[in-house]
Assembly symmetry: C2
Homo-oligomer: 174 residues x 2
Amino acid sequence: MKFDLEKSISILERTPVVLNSYLKGLSEDWTNHNEGENTWSPFDILGHLIVGEKTDWITRTQIIVSDNPDKNFKPFNMAAQFEYSKGKSLEHLLSEFEVLRNENLKKLRAMKLTDKQMSLTGFHPEFGEVSLKELVSTWVAHDLGHIAQISRVMAKQYKSEVGPWIKYLGILNK
Amino acid sequence: MKFDLEKSISILERTPVVLNSYLKGLSEDWTNHNEGENTWSPFDILGHLIVGEKTDWITRTQIIVSDNPDKNFKPFNMAAQFEYSKGKSLEHLLSEFEVLRNENLKKLRAMKLTDKQMSLTGFHPEFGEVSLKELVSTWVAHDLGHIAQISRVMAKQYKSEVGPWIKYLGILNK
């Protein structure tokens, strides 16, 4: 599948709805446990997605399309969610993510990006030159990856309960 | 996390809602492609979930709790969805799954299963003796596994579009 802005947005705008229907009101037994040391719970993942909305995707898009010749992206903080989410409820994070995502997609749409602009580039601290098309594609795949991760983390809470079926539940062995 | 019937149902009843918010109205570019030969698209996965509702989870639960001494499960057909889904739309499958899942959870609740009954067993064609607790836990983990799979299959449609970020998108390398 070739990159398509509208088809990308069709995934990005669903993510808060999917996360709400997946997690809202669920027991903390499902949402607050992780996969072991140095792994994230669904609660942690939600904080990470919020930090992305606040500091990554749209910020970097704006750097790429702006007239400012400085195209350097700031490094993304992969641990910021622990401080950020402290003391907040899952429900709070869910609605915060929904608001931020909807605002960001409004900003993205308002840019009325052309195909030509999708080839503009910014400078990633590790990768160097990256295009806007690659950034937005990554935003989409990153959402889908974290929905998969949430699914896996929750499934693993039943790892010792499924008995011999573990053989056919690949998700429990990842 | 120890098995809990109500907490299991809290996941099972969300799955049709999650799948609706995830897939309904989405372009076929996202829903009708797979990961390569002998893999499933989100459309195929949905058919597989329907076949499970029709022939597996509740059918096997009923075998386990019934007075009938024959506790043998029929083997599950892992290819039945291809014939079953033929000519149907994704929207059709989504609403069919929702109806079947809700009916099955109604049946499950109506059984008013006790903790003691959760240890009753049936006979699996490959594994031999399995408990009702293991069956219901597997139902839950199986749902979560297929939501993860749907996420992965959709993410992979952008595998060639994310550029160097593929390094940090583990989902694209599974």
